[in-house]
Amino acid sequence: MDAVQVNKTLDLKGLLCPIPVVKMAQAIKTVAVGEVIEATATDPGVMADIPAWCRTTGQELVRITRENGVISFAVRRVK
């Protein structure tokens, strides 16, 4: 279904704003350019915050979905 290769996973469930974005920003520096981080979170604010963060930092939002209260998203490091 989803052919993206994931290089690192992050569990951000239970964390409140702005900590999921902070953790994601820290984690992106630990992977190489071109690699992908997949994360799960529960705070719905992430649905708007992560796309905004990707836009300003120039990273690629590969996908973001929500199912049964869990948001999962994948971000590719571009720079």
């Binding site: 704003c17 702005p18 920003a25 705070d43 719905p44 604010g45 708007a48 915050d49 905004a52 836009r55």
Partner: protein, 437 residues
Amino acid sequence: MSETVRTETINTALGALERVLDRRLVAALEVCARCGICAEACHVYASDPRPEHVPAARAERVRAVYRRQHDPLGKLFPWLVGAKDLTEPDLDALAEPAFASCTLCRRCTINCPFGVDTALIMRAARAMLTATDRAPEMLVMLADAAIARGEHAEEFREIYREIVAGLEHEAQERLGDPTLRIPLDQQGAEILYVGLSGAHTILPAAIIFHEANASWTLSMFEASNYGLFLGDPARAKAIARRIVDEAVRLGVKEVVLTECGHAYAALRWEAPNWFGGEFPFKVRSIVEVLADYVRDGRLALDPTANPEPVTYHDSCNLARNGGLIEAPRIVLRAAVQNFVEMNPHGKENFCCGGGGGLVAIPEWFETRMRAGRKKAEQIRAAGAPVVATSCENCNLQLTDLNGYYDLNVQVVGLMELVVNALLKARRRHAVPLPEAA
């Protein structure tokens, strides 16, 4: 590094200082008797008594530069008045005192015999550091992401509607009332409520507004303003503008900000200066609104829902700087059974140690835990198992202090306590439905 680059950087920093140099800042920079009274007033010094943690000492780094630029003696005989040319190493060394060991809490100011506003000086230092790319990356990123969300509001509108629909359902279930609504973009509503990105700031507010029968609508944006922490009026204004424009478009009578100290300080006290005038709406904290609802009998609360002793941590921005001291106590006395004051409290309360944006900067975790020692001692001495607060920053910091210092308390927001009391009162008053014939 070449001489030209050095000069450009220094000029940029000095330019940033000049831009924020108003009468208040000049007064703060020119007056200091070096009496040292501010030392013990500062939670950072009180928690970790080192000379560099004395407020006057951290302000002196900027004062020396100011004297070199503006004091007639400082221009001619810098050594005589402790004036100093700004250098790049000085700028580098300013980052820690300005961003990590001053939370802009202003406890030193109210304890200084001359009212010297060290926080204002540190904000000017932050402006110089931000202008020369020396601000913590995380604060810059969070500020820019907030601005991006405003610039692409249309793209986010549908995502947000989806989020709000989910939250509305959750709030209905929690209250047991399918008529509860979370209005979005409601033209002519009286209140524009601005939460944070987190659902925890929207759910309890929705229940409270529903029960108080308020005319309200939820903002598309979040209340926090990281531009304020950066000391960058341009970014701070861009972040505030999203809310100001939304409030004007919807024609609301007031903007009510969620439990967030710096958001309140930004929109209530600072924004009118950034925009050059008053707004056509009031700005209040949810804490003030809750106090009104309690006073007016618009919320039925059963304090037995919160039976354990509760103490309250006053946020620096709400209490000391915003004057909201009685309002949270009106709410607490109605929502909990046993309210215990922390000592000192109100405008003399010690900062939690996580203000000024510090909770969002992972690399300074140890620094803020050390600076929170005084707060941890205060909480322990209060002896209450529940610590309430009405600021998100404080909530995050107190939760971290709880683990770090083994305080064994529960940290809760004021709205949560109100919702507990409200749900219990509602259950007690609920009239059972007649059984089907």
